[in-house]
């Protein structure tokens, strides 16, 4: 294992600001980011990665490789929540198992963005159409989670309000902004792209850094919920991403992805949603405890992925010869 890669990733200013956020909560500082700003940052990041992904998709076109990647993304978005559900059912009730499975079947856009920044800083190329894979993988897990409850809950008396579920899954703000930005990037003329560069490139890394500071604050505040999660869920929050990443890397090798794309695909499969899915789960599976699925995604999996996961998955990609 190349510990140098892990160390250089950990010394990345954006990651260091994440640590700063964690440390400030643990030291009981009153550091706080005013509440509309983190949402603004997350909207900005979604807009920019969607737009840049659309621009690069316009350049690359829809090749066989692109289509294979999208098919792999759809399959992963369906298989990961189902597999996670059955593992979680060893210890949890149907509702919590389904909600957590849905979180882990979806993706974290911020982890993806952190991975793209890592690739840029290490000089590893990747394709912008991976953003489309991100958009594809956001929503199916929500539907899968609801279906799993429907199938396995013997006490389910009421039917499912599918219009509400589908609206939350495919029309939630994150998905609309990401897909919309992707489409706009796809059709925007080159002159318009250039004029947006101060916004999409100039301030991008700074906003990501500031956002990770807030993520550190959030993750640390959720640490106390880990006492309720117990060792099984803590272990799941670390091991499931690694297992999912390994499987993703093997799929990436099978379909001939490059190193950079394989890392992004691994990160997508290894990450958990703490924005789109929790809101959908709160509406669709209110019996589930949001402190579990939010805390696991925020306080365990997200920090694990950005600190250790990204460099680890790159090492695995090199070992497996992708």
């Amino acid at each position: 294992m190349d510990t140098g890669t892990i160390l250089s990733n950990a010394l990345n200013p954006a990651i260091l600001f994440f640590f700063l956020g964690v440390a400030s909560v643990l030291l009981k500082s009153d550091l706080e980011i005013p509440s509309p700003l983190p949402k603004l940052f997350s909207l900005y990041l979604l807009l920019v990665i969607g737009f840049k992904g659309g621009v690069e998709l316009a350049h690359s076109g829809f090749s066989t490789q692109v289509l294979l990647t999208f098919i792999a993304a759809i399959l992963a978005a369906v298989v990961v929540p189902i597999a996670s559900f059955f593992v979680l059912r060893l210890k949890l009730d149907v509702y919590n198992a389904a909600a957590i499975a849905a979180s882990y079947g979806s993706v974290s856009a911020v982890t993806f963005v952190t991975a793209t920044t890592f690739l840029q800083q290490t000089g590893i190329p990747y394709n912008g159409y991976m953003v489309a894979a991100l958009a594809i993988m956001e929503s199916p897990a929500i539907v899968a989670g609801v279906l799993l409850v429907r199938v396995y809950d013997s006490k389910q008396e009421k039917g499912v309000n599918w219009s509400e579920v589908l609206r939350e899954a495919f029309l939630n703000g994150s998905v609309v902004l990401l897909v919309g930005s992707l489409f706009i990037g796809l059709v925007a003329p080159e002159t318009a792209q250039k004029s947006l560069e101060p916004f999409t490139k100039g301030i991008f890394y700074g906003v990501l850094t500031f956002f990770l500071l807030d993520m550190g604050l959030l993750a640390a505040r959720r640490l106390r919920d880990l006492t309720a999660t117990g060792p099984f869920l803590i272990g799941f929050g670390i091991l499931a991403p690694v297992v999912n990443a390994v499987i993703a890397i093997l799929i990436a090798k099978l379909i001939g992805m490059g190193e950079g794309n394989a890392l992004l695909f691994a990160v997508l499969c290894a990450s958990a949603s703490y924005i789109a899915v929790p809101a959908a789960m709160r509406l669709s599976i209110p019996e589930a405890n949001p402190s579990l699925y939010v805390s696991m995604a925020l306080a365990i999996t997200f920090p694990f992925n950005i600190i250790f996961g990204i460099p680890l998955y790159l090492q695995l990609i090199r070992i497996l010869g992708v």
């Binding site: 959030l218 505040r221 809101a279 209110p286 949001p290 402190s291």
Partner: protein
């Protein structure tokens, strides 16, 4: 002044739209919503600390006539049963102006 019933409801933020639909259908003259409400209840701690308002509540205040209370409560009961929250009813005096 006029005697009215004060209804105070605390539910998850994600339930606000559903709750407002019920209030609109009840043909009430008005209601007040306070967002980002924190606290603890049977469903655990709601202390914010996330990006989606899943871990925050909303507080809704309604003033209505006594004959509107029972139909409204029957509409609210399924929401409270399924999604949690509290609903308090008390007497109040409406300042006519």
């Amino acid at each position: 002044m006029k005697s009215v019933k004060r209804i105070e409801i605390v539910v998850d933020s994600v339930e606000l739209n559903r709750l407002v639909e019920v209030l609109e259908e009840s043909q009430l003259k008005g209601y007040t919503v306070i967002k980002d409400v924190l606290g603890r209840g049977l469903h655990g701690l709601r202390d914010g600390g996330d990006l989606t308002d899943v871990l925050t509540n909303v507080y809704v205040l309604v003033a209505c006539n006594e004959d509107q209370v029972h139909p409204l409560i029957e509409q609210l009961r399924p929401i409270l049963t399924r999604f949690g929250g509290i609903c308090l009813i008390s007497d109040a005096q409406w300042v006519v102006h």
